[in-house]
């Protein structure tokens, strides 16, 4: 019970600063569950991210997997609620009044200010996933190839996920 409460509290705090979406939160999730609380090791963290990538649904559900690893199904439920509930409540009371703030200068300033930080956060996410997965040179080459192809061609993400799984199964990375 104390574990569930800790999980819920930590993830609730996290979601309130999750500017830039859940993907941008991976570094903080990693710091929390791998380094600070030591609920799982690096490899498991990378595995859970990979499973979430290959499954349908909003990408916040990676936290359900993390919660599951920490405390089974109750952990998964606690983690999912913690990530979605706090901001849902805020938005429920706020959305009617949004029109009034839409053109406020401070709102535009925050939006402009968040964008570069989100760039850094998503970059850090990619870095930490690569590092947690323990990629060797061939793995890093696969990562860079996916980055380049996605930017140049923009094929559907599932193609890259499938190619990654195939490369792994064939022992190429």
């Amino acid at each position: 019970m104390a574990l569930l409460a800790d999980l819920f509290l930590q993830f609730s705090i996290l979601t309130v600063v999750a500017f830039g979406g859940i993907t941008a939160m991976l570094p903080e999730l990693h710091r929390l569950v791998v380094e600070q609380r030591q609920w799982m090791d690096d490899t498991t963290f990378a595995h859970l991210f990979a499973i979430a990538q290959a499954a349908p649904g909003p990408n916040l559900l990676v936290v359900s997997l993390i919660g599951w690893k920490v405390a089974g199904i109750p952990g998964a439920i606690a983690a999912t609620l913690a990530i979605s509930l706090p901001m849902s409540l805020v938005i429920f009371f706020l959305y009617r009044h949004w029109e009034r703030f839409r053109d406020a200068p401070w709102r535009e300033a925050i939006q402009t200010g968040v964008a570069p930080l989100a760039v850094g956060l998503v970059c850090a996410s990619g870095w930490l996933i690569g590092a947690s997965a323990g990629l060797d040179l061939r793995g890093i080459l696969l990562t860079l190839a996916c980055t380049g192809l996605m930017l140049a061609r923009g094929w559907h993400p599932l193609w890259y996920i499938g190619a990654g799984a195939a490369a792994g199964a064939l022992g190429l990375v």
Binding site: F19, L48, G57, T80, M87, A109, V122, I161, L172
Partner: protein
């Protein structure tokens, strides 16, 4: 991961919908099913599907309305699809609608995740499964870098703002600082810069107006 402005739905000219006729209001069950379908069919991007359902398929709101709500949901922290489901559900059925829409969106994918988690618990130790997941993680990291670079392209006045991207990257990856205080401090700085630049631009614009 696909929340870069490049992926945001475009504002297309649309026939006006002055008021939503009551007959078009979805029932609670309708809302649940629609959100479930959207949640379960979204691979790496649920937003376009949600927009398609609301604006094009069912005409529950105009494109402009959708963009306004999306603006709020992307502006606030948290998962922007969950935020959006709350707005949409609340718009049609108040608190009950918000709960039903969010549950619909998350329940199906959540069950899929739990099935996959169970499978991972059983077969996760096999070498071939570990190899495949490592490959997927490598590809996924590549997609994250691509998303970051696409987002960086859309940052205005990059020479001012992108150093902050580098700063937060170093703080997280090398210094391993906790995010909440870091985020608030850096957002305070970038937000203040943006605020002052906008004020100055507005002042220059008014001076130019009075001069001419």
């Amino acid at each position: 991961m696909h929340r870069s402005p490049a992926d945001a739905p475009r504002t297309a000219p649309e026939p006006p919908h002055p008021a939503i006729p009551p007959a078009r209001q979805p029932g609670l069950w309708d809302l649940f099913l629609a959100c479930s379908r959207v949640g379960l069919s979204g691979f790496g991007g649920v937003l376009p599907l949600l927009r398609h359902f609301l604006v094009e398929e069912r005409r529950l709101m105009s494109g402009a309305d959708f963009n306004a709500l999306l603006g709020l949901c992307q502006f606030l922290p948290g998962s922007n699809v969950v935020n959006l489901a709350v707005c949409v559900g609340a718009r049609f059925h108040g608190a009950r609608g918000a709960v039903v829409a969010t549950t619909g969106l998350l329940l199906g994918p959540f069950l899929v995740m739990m099935a996959l988690a169970t499978a991972y618990g059983v077969w996760g130790h096999l070498a071939v499964v570990q190899d495949m997941l490592r490959g997927v993680a490598a590809a996924g990291a590549g997609l994250l870098f691509a998303t970051a670079l696409k987002m960086a392209r859309n940052v205005p006045e990059r020479w001012i703002y992108l150093p902050f991207a580098a700063l937060i990257l170093v703080a997280l990856v090398i210094l391993r600082l906790p995010l909440p205080p870091l985020m608030l401090a850096l957002l305070g700085m970038t937000g203040l810069i943006a605020y002052r630049r906008a004020r100055r631009a507005a002042r220059l614009a008014t001076t130019a107006d009075t001069d001419s």
